[in-house]
């Protein structure tokens, strides 16, 4: 009965497997219901459809198998089951009688932990063993080229199991209470992203600039892996490397495992091993008398208190404000096109009140009593609340917060309003930076209804992005007018419309659409010949030269007969390299049906653009502007 391996105790392992048989019995049922039966039903349906001709049905069965493997490899199920299993196998750490009994046994803590851990891993693997077995059988029966892909998929699933289960075990070791363990586990898995979003929201609150919380930036950023469930869900989902490669697989070559495919999961494995060691050490040094405590380690209590008070306070303040005012804080601040400084103190006070309340709630939770007044530490309270107050003061005074980046760090600047213009020229960028700073300093207030939206999006050399959005007053002499004039005088004004390659001999204006500004797409026409395109091009150049057209239209409120021109320019990779087009520029290119990069730019034409209006009228009369028909191939 005694295992020869000193770090594994068979009796402990067997006890877990027999005592918690209902857990893995439920898992078996779930695996049958979610993994196997839908697949079998789909396969049977396909075979019936092909009236039993499995040879012809193979392609459809393969497609079906691919789509179902996404369910098999969905990290959300693993995420949930991991904490359930960890709480179950280590449940004795929540109960003093059981804990004392177990720890009085002649078994070292390392042995106890490892034996329970292995029992948990086995329980988590059961549904996947059944799932993979079913899929491999179906694959062997109906499809080919399966083995390596399935093994890769199994490896990825195993890595995720170990990672999430390791985190769950670590959390269970830190907390002596099951509900607290589950809460900490869930929060820990989204902490980075949640905290980042809250920080951005708070920062947005104090800045004059509106700033949207860029979810894509957060979710794909360098540290997104700190929120494992979110990171892995995006990494896997329907883009499983194992599945993707299989769906592309047409030859033996695809059976070679590429390092880049499995790297995220090798990292997950490595992280899982580290987390396992941390959890083991936590269990080894955890005191038995902490059973039932919300946080079992004395060093964890101030951390918990601080995080709960500050994050909880910020969260509840933001939520309360949003519910009460039916809009976000930043929107309330910038409600009428002007920054409402008076409201600022309201939100600061609300935030401080919420932080104080959350501090006391955290104390109550740690001490498991409502009556904490006599025993709570005033020093700790002052540190946490004082720290939060300091943070808010620094935000209000602008000492901290997201600032307009330094010129040396800026790689590209995109100005967005009705249209987007990308600047890479240093002189152009420095002028816009000056204007941006002027907006921030003056915190300009709108006098009337005439406002326009503009945003400055800085892409930095380190790959990050900073965005500042404003609602600005319009009119002559206003800041928005200065921005328009700056755009009209910029070195890149032609590139803004025609791309960098517009002077190049190889430049091709692929398509020009002429649209009514009321957005009526039924009357959209396009220049059907190269000659027509060239005429419009030359006319636009002339109007820009004479200042009849604004490159950047911040306050464009078109008249009924105004036009919009949509230019599509053709730029190949060579030209993109030649003109040192950055990653963002290239990314924004549309790849047409001939695999060519085409860039779309838009330009509003008012009655002032006399040359362009004249040419459009001429071409219309000559029948050179044809109605846009979706069936026509207007890409050459």
């Amino acid at each position: 009965m005694k295992s020869k391996i000193s770090y594994f105790n068979k009796a402990v392992f067997k006890k877990d497997m027999t005592q918690f048989w209902s857990l893995w019995a439920v898992e078996i049922v779930i695996s049958l219901l979610i993994f196997i039966m839908p697949l079998m039903s789909s396969v049977n349906g396909i075979i019936r459809e092909y009236t039993g001709n499995t040879l012809n049905a193979r392609s459809d069965i393969k497609e079906s198998l691919i789509s179902f493997t996404a369910v098999l490899a969905n990290p959300v199920f693993i995420f949930v089951m991991a904490i359930v299993v960890a709480v179950v196998v280590f449940q004795y750490t929540f109960n003093s009688r059981e804990m004392y009994m177990i720890h009085s046994l002649p078994v070292k803590r390392e042995t106890l932990f490892i034996s329970h851990y292995i029992a948990g891993v086995v329980m988590l693997l059961i549904p996947y063993v059944i799932g993979f077995a079913g899929y491999i059988i179906v694959g062997k029966m109906y499809c080919a080229g399966l083995t390596i892909s399935m093994l890769l998929l199994a490896f990825e699933v195993f890595a995720m199991i170990l990672l999430f289960y390791g985190i769950a075990c670590m959390v269970v070791m830190v907390s002596g209470n099951s509900m607290m363990s589950i809460s900490i586990y869930c929060v820990l898995n989204v902490l980075y992203i949640g905290f980042y979003m809250m920080f951005m929201s708070v920062n947005q609150m104090f800045s004059y600039a509106g700033r949207t919380v860029d979810m894509e930036n957060i979710l794909t950023g360098r540290y997104a892996w700190l929120s494992p469930i979110v990171f892995l869900y995006r990494k896997t989902g329907f883009k499983w490397t194992g599945v993707k490669r299989w769906s592309d697989s047409t030859s033996l070559k695809s059976e070679i495992i590429r390092w880049s495919e499995i790297l995220p999961f090798v990292c997950a494995f490595a992280a899982a091993i580290i987390i396992f060691i941390v959890a083991l050490l936590l269990y080894k040094y955890r005191k038995s008398e902490t059973v039932g405590d919300m946080i079992a380690f004395s060093w964890g209590k101030p951390v918990y208190r601080t995080v709960f008070a500050i994050a909880g306070g910020m969260f509840f303040a933001l939520i309360s404000w949003t519910i009460y005012f039916q809009q976000g804080v930043a929107d309330t601040m910038n409600g009428e096109g002007a920054y409402d400084i008076e409201r600022l103190m309201d939100i600061v006070m609300l935030m401080m009140i919420c932080v104080i309340i959350c501090y006391f709630v955290s104390e109550m939770m740690l001490k498991r009593t409502f009556f904490i007044w006599k025993s709570f530490s005033k020093k700790n309270f002052l540190i946490v609340v004082g720290g939060m107050l300091m943070f808010l003061v620094l935000e209000v005074t602008g000492v901290i917060g997201i600032k307009i980046p330094k010129l040396n760090n800026i790689s590209e600047l995109e100005i967005t309003s009705e249209n987007n213009i990308l600047y890479t020229d240093k002189d152009d960028i420095s002028k816009f930076v000056k204007l941006n700073k002027e907006i921030e300093e003056k915190r300009l207030k709108s006098d009337g209804d005439s406002t326009c939206g503009v945003s400055f999006c800085y892409r930095l050399k380190n790959g990050t992005k900073r965005e500042f959005s404003y609602e600005l007053p319009t009119g002559q002499g206003t800041i928005s007018d200065k921005i328009v004039q700056c755009a009209n005088r910029s070195k890149q004004k032609y590139e803004a419309i025609f791309s960098k390659a517009y002077k190049d001999g190889g430049y091709k204006l692929q398509n020009v659409e002429v649209q009514d500004c009321d957005g009526n797409s039924e009357s959209t026409t396009y220049a059907s010949t190269e000659e027509a395109r060239e005429k419009i091009y030359e006319a636009v150049l002339k109007d820009i030269e004479e200042g009849n057209i604004n490159i950047l239209d911040l306050s464009y409120q078109g008249e009924s007969d105004d036009k919009r021109l949509n230019f599509r320019t053709y730029v190949n990779e060579k030209m993109a390299d030649k003109y040192k087009m950055g990653a963002y520029e290239r990314k924004s290119f549309y790849v047409n049906n001939k695999n060519q990069f085409t860039e779309k730019k838009m330009l509003n034409i008012s009655f002032k653009a006399k040359h362009t209006r004249r040419v459009i009228e001429e071409l219309t009369n000559d029948g050179k502007l044809k109605l846009l028909d979706s069936k026509e191939q207007y890409y050459e």
């Binding site: 005694k2 009796a11 059981e98 009085s104 002649p106 078994v107 042995t111 038995s288």
Partner: protein
């Protein structure tokens, strides 16, 4: 066998053990007595390796017991509030312990079960009565073939018949196999029939530790009466306590009982009787002058 030296333990500022020192000799039955909250269970958990002391040491067979699986193999522990796995029967628990304790004796287990025919081995232990649960705990503990039995209020809540049965098993183990027994209780009267040594705990300290044989041999309770003049007893024997009811004098005397008896007979009393002393009385008089409110402690 078990030596605790200046053991201290605090829980969130509360001092549960305050320099507690004790010595349990090999093959003896040591009774740990004290009121509720004295620290008995806490001390026992240190001895069984559940808690680690903040300072001081607890050695079993010369080695530190905490996280020492070799030493823990020798110890069988029955807590006051026994834990059994949910859904587990007595046989299930036996299999579990047999997998943990190298010396677990299944034959002995079978034999002991035969001695308790009322115990249903297939029944879930949690469904059994408290008395049967304790019986089950004893069966399992004894089957582990321990060198040390640590019992925390083992007969608390049991009827007299059950208590007798439990004590019989224990004493049998002590006699036959030289097992060392540490038993805690808040009732001194219960322990006086079984213990060789007694330690009294109060407020986290072991305030007194004595051998019962020494104690019982060194203090005597004598009732004596005289026809005429009553002599001055203090000249002849060491009187700790003297009470009078009519002509009958009740003396508590320190010293060897035979010597005391001989000396008092020499005074020609008309009546002299040697009365049994309870352990409680022994402790009260033994501690006389040390200013411990033993009477309060023991009640």
């Amino acid at each position: 066998m078990i030596v605790g030296k200046d053991v201290c333990k605090s829980f969130e500022g509360f001092k549960a053990l305050d320099n507690a020192s004790f010595h349990v000799r090999k093959g003896s039955v040591y009774g740990l007595v004290g009121p509720n909250g004295a620290g008995k269970s806490t001390l026992i958990r240190h001895i069984t390796g559940v808690f680690e002391p903040d300072s001081g040491s607890i050695n079993v067979a010369g080695e530190n017991v905490f996280e020492n699986s070799v030493i823990k193999e020798k110890i069988a522990y029955i807590p006051d509030d026994i834990f059994y796995f949910k859904q587990a029967s007595l046989d299930d628990m036996m299999k579990y312990y047999a997998g943990i304790y190298k010396n677990f004796d299944r034959d002995l287990y079978e034999k002991l079960c035969g001695g308790f025919p009322a115990l249903d081995r297939k029944m879930r232990v949690r469904r059994m009565s408290k008395g049967m649960q304790k019986q089950s705990a004893f069966l399992l503990a004894v089957s582990m073939r321990p060198e040390i039995l640590v019992l925390d209020e083992p007969v608390d809540g049991l009827d007299p018949v059950m208590r007798k049965q439990i004590w019989n098993i224990l004493l049998n183990e002590v006699t036959k196999y030289g097992v060392t027994v540490l038993v805690s209780s808040h009732n001194l009267r219960e322990l006086e029939d079984v213990c060789d040594y007694v330690g009294i705990m109060n407020k986290g300290k072991v305030i007194i530790e004595r051998s019962l044989a020494e104690l019982q041999g060194s203090v005597s309770k004598i009732q004596i009466a005289f026809a005429d003049e009553v002599p001055d007893f203090g000249k002849y024997v060491n009187v700790v306590n003297h009470s009078v009811m009519g002509k009958v004098h009740t003396l508590i005397v320190k010293g060897d009982s035979e010597t005391v008896e001989d000396k008092l007979m020499g005074l020609n009393p008309i009546l002299m009787d040697l009365l049994p002393l309870t352990l409680e009385e022994i402790f009260i008089y033994e501690l006389g002058g040390e200013n411990y409110e033993v009477k309060d402690i023991l009640f």
